[in-house]
């Protein structure tokens, strides 16, 4: 493997491994494996990056805009005033802001190490990350030591975010607004289940170490066409998915599906015939029980999934039970109601504790992983209350400007995610005792290098709707689940549609590299600058039209592409090309074997050709062979037999060719 100088390694470390092309990353990894000095440099760089993020967050995160979101203020002529008074006023405002910041940090001193959230440390909790966007659902990873949180958005985005830095590790696109999500372990990796507002559930296999993020099976719709899913839960090992739908049916599906298959239904419990859109589900830590509350009565049910036996627990007061969660030992359940929360002992079948004093119904509930802290959120009060789950005392109440929608403890019990609906957008805050300190910098072992931030877009088909009629689209190739070969295939689309106006049909395609998130379907009509792409379009008069376009794929011009994005658009023609229809597909591209298997690295032997040319009747050997031990061709002389040409343009993809010895040369 090629050696790189230290300076080059340090330059790449500054860029960050996540943003390096695969080949450069490989070289860097090899270099780091051998160079202690550069490993030290890497750790320092990581610390510096984390410190930069932290310092800038400390500086800017607390500052708010004074503009109202409903109006655009009039243009100001402040910039044109070069006067000292304005400058001094600005300095005065800055000083006031500084005083506020000093007060804030004095009130909540920065901790140097992360602490478990418990009855003592709840007083030290403060927010770390502010992420303001149309976030609709959050859930922490359940992997030990992981600080990754899954974040679902109104526009369907699904992101895995490092909770302490805000860095997006993965990103993908669900088929619609993410209304709920569950995130747990699954084999060697993890699994996320997303539920869209339209009631579609999608399962995503996540492997953070390998940066893989793939859609499992086909999207799941409720088998009952008259009811929609609105809540879901995954069991401890991610093999079972429980759903609650709008007619009170609880269904349990297996998540172990082949690509393209719908998760099979394993069990079903019907509790209601009336419509409900409130309620919750939770598996016990061992996966043998499922707790269910339906939101229509003050009752929690615990189903034994092995015997189908059901126990019910009635709340002492209030009209409904809304949230439920098992304690880590599986012996108790916490139930959130209206307005109080309760802790039930399953063996004794009685309520142990009441968490009273909430003014209205609870909007969220979460137990810390050790079961000692219960977090609840209420609607009217716009607050999160942290309770001692062992004695029912209120430990702390944190106020928010707007109602809190979701709360979740991290698996290590050191962070609490709070999602609240703000006027400026939904706000995600991660509360911890060391909000301003990045934990990686404090671990005694060397901090790991940042792992690759590959964005593996899910295999999605976006459909913007029906602004044209009678649309049918045929994609080429048909399969979108199987990786396409490294080279030598054709892709494209044929669209047939009817429109009452003049239209432009347009197909565009371009490669997506690792770590790249495609823009929404309608917003990106051509390849980003400087990137190879294919595109064609045709204008059509009103009526029914068929537009077909296909392109040959050549891996040589897209050496770093991991996915191929293909998009078909229909526009009107005046005045500004409104988008009438758009679909897109993302195809995974198979990687050539030599990149997957370093032993088969192609070797260029340009000096072989002149020697062979001098041999009459001998076909010219191709320029590429694989894993040859660098023979000197002119010492070898002219081969009696030529390496099989059939192997050779694709020799790099044919392992057998790598085993082919150099033919014994004639003297």
């Amino acid at each position: 493997m090629k050696e790189i100088p230290h300076q080059q390694a340090q330059r790449w470390l500054a860029v960050g491994q996540a943003d390096l092309p695969a080949a450069e990353k490989e070289l860097l990894t090899a270099h780091l494996a051998q160079c202690e000095a550069c490993r030290t440099y890497a750790r320092e760089t990581l610390t510096l990056q984390q410190d930069l993020t932290r310092v800038m967050q400390m500086r800017w995160d607390g500052q708010k805009s004074n503009m109202t979101h409903t109006s655009i203020p009039k243009a100001s002529n402040r910039d044109s005033r070069l006067n000292l008074v304005g400058t001094l006023l600005g300095a005065g405002a800055l000083a006031a802001l500084t005083l506020a910041l000093v007060f804030f940090f004095n009130r909540a001193p920065v901790q140097q190490t992360a602490g478990l959230i418990n009855s003592t440390t709840v007083a030290e909790l403060k927010p770390a990350i502010y992420k303001t966007e149309a976030i609709t659902a959050v859930a922490f990873s359940q992997r030990a030591g992981s600080n990754v949180i899954a974040v679902g958005y109104r526009d369907g985005r699904l992101e895995l975010v490092e909770a302490d830095t805000g860095r997006v590790r993965f990103s993908g696109m669900a088929s619609g607004e993410v209304m709920a999500l569950a995130f747990t372990l699954y084999g060697q990796g993890e699994i996320i289940a997303t539920l869209t507002r339209e009631g579609t559930i999608e399962l995503w296999a996540v492997d953070i170490t390998q940066s893989a993020f793939t859609l499992m099976g086909a999207p799941l719709l409720n088998p009952n066409p008259n009811a929609a899913f609105f809540q879901l839960a995954l069991n401890h090992d991610g093999t079972k998915l429980a759903t609650l739908d709008s007619v009170g049916a609880v269904k349990i599906f297996s998540t172990q599906v082949a690509p393209g298959e719908t998760p099979p239904l394993q069990m079903q419990f019907d509790f209601l015939s009336e419509t409900t859109f409130a309620g919750d589900l939770a598996f016990s830590p061992d996966g043998k029980f499922l707790a269910v509350v339906l939101g229509t009565a003050p009752v929690a049910r615990v189903l034994n999934l092995e015997t189908n036996h059901e126990e019910t627990y009635t709340l002492p007061d209030g009209p409904q039970a809304l949230w439920v969660e098992f304690t880590p030992d599986g012996q108790r359940i916490a139930v959130g109601g209206n307005p109080n929360a309760y802790l039930f002992d399953l063996a004794r079948q009685q309520s142990l504790l009441t968490f009273a004093g909430n003014p209205t119904w609870l909007t969220a509930l979460s137990l810390s992983p050790d079961g000692k802290i219960l977090a609840t959120a209420t609607d009217n009060e716009q607050s999160v209350r942290l309770w001692n789950a062992e004695d029912g005392t209120l430990l702390r109440e944190i106020q928010f400007p707007d109602p809190v929608h979701a709360i979740d403890f991290s698996a290590d019990g050191q962070r609490l995610a709070v999602l609240w609906y703000g006027a400026d957008g939904n706000q995600l805050e991660i509360w911890s005792t060391n909000a301003a300190t990045a934990p990686l910098a404090n671990t005694p072992t060397p901090a790991p290098l940042p792992t690759e931030s590959i964005i593996s877009p899910p295999l999605v088909t976006e459909d913007l709707g029906n602004k044209v009629q009678n649309v049918s689209v045929v994609w080429l190739p048909e399969s979108q689940a199987t990786p396409l070969p490294p080279s030598g295939f054709t892709f494209g689309a044929t669209i047939t549609y009817t429109s009452g106006q003049e239209t432009i049909a347009h197909v565009v395609a371009y490669p997506l590299a690792s770590g790249e998130d495609p823009a929404p379907c309608e917003l990106n009509l051509s390849a980003p600058e400087g990137r190879p792409f294919w595109a064609n379009q045709t204008n059509y008069p009103p009526g029914t039209q068929t537009f077909s376009q296909s392109f040959p794929y050549n891996a040589e011009v897209l050496p770093n592409a991991t996915y191929l994005l293909v998009r078909i658009n229909v526009f009107d023609t005046a005045p500004v090309n409104n988008l009438l229809y758009c679909q897109q597909r993302i195809y995974p591209l198979a990687q050539p074997l030599e990149t997957a298997t370093p032993a088969f690295t192609p070797t260029l032997i340009p000096t072989f050709t002149p020697c062979a040319i001098g041999c009459e009747g001998t076909p010219t050997p191709p320029p590429f062979v694989t894993t040859l031990p660098s023979p000197t061709p002119c010492q070898i002389g002219c081969p009696e037999t030529t390496p099989a040409p059939a192997n050779l343009p694709n020799a790099s993809a044919t392992p057998a060719a790598t085993e082919t010895p150099i033919p014994t040369p004639a003297p």
Binding site: V55, W60, D79, G90, V110, A519
Partner: protein
């Protein structure tokens, strides 16, 4: 059909309300970008407002070469750069007046008092001391957490340029904060 898609279509058809709604949804992000460039909430508000107005004027010609958010980021960044130039002109004038009136020349930046740790203060000062081009890259990469490719799109430069600026910034920051 996503809300943003609908809004974009309405905007292109000249719907003022949709335009306001679309830009309003992006405003917090734009404010945060402006704040991190200008380091002044009031200035950032003004920059966001100017970026809005610029985007309103330019939206009909937005053809989607980049994502909408990237396009808005770029507009906001240009507005901020312009304001920075004016801000510095004001500062130069202030320095002249300071000399004329014999005011205290050495002013401790009050925001540095917000950092309790000496190391943080030093790092913040080092960030402030970076050239604009390098500070923009640092801010977009580590504060806004944009990937390199997106930073390049926002700044309208090549990824290679972003790499170079990032490396140069790292070298300067390391030399100033004296990391062990």
């Amino acid at each position: 059909l996503s809300e943003q898609t609908q809004l974009l279509a309405l905007c292109r058809a000249g719907d003022e309300q949709a335009l306001t709604q679309l830009l309003t949804a992006q405003r917090p992000k734009l404010f945060r970008l402006a704040l991190s460039i200008l380091d002044d909430a009031a200035e950032a508000d003004e920059a966001t407002q100017e970026a809005w107005l610029a985007a309103r004027r330019a939206l009909p010609s937005f053809r989607g070469e980049a994502a909408l958010s990237t396009w808005l980021y770029r507009i906001t960044l240009n507005v901020c750069r312009s304001k920075l130039r004016k801000q510095r002109a004001r500062q130069r004038l202030q320095q002249v007046l300071t000399v004329v009136f014999r005011w205290e020349a050495e002013v401790v930046h009050p925001e540095e008092a917000a950092f309790q740790l000496e190391a943080d203060r030093a790092l913040w000062a080092a960030i402030r001391a970076l050239p604009d081009t390098e500070r923009e890259v640092i801010v977009l990469r580590y504060y806004h957490a944009h990937p390199i490719a997106e930073v390049a799109q926002i700044l309208n430069v090549s990824e290679r340029t972003v790499h170079n600026r990032l490396h140069a910034a790292h070298q300067k920051l390391r030399s100033k904060v004296h990391r062990p």
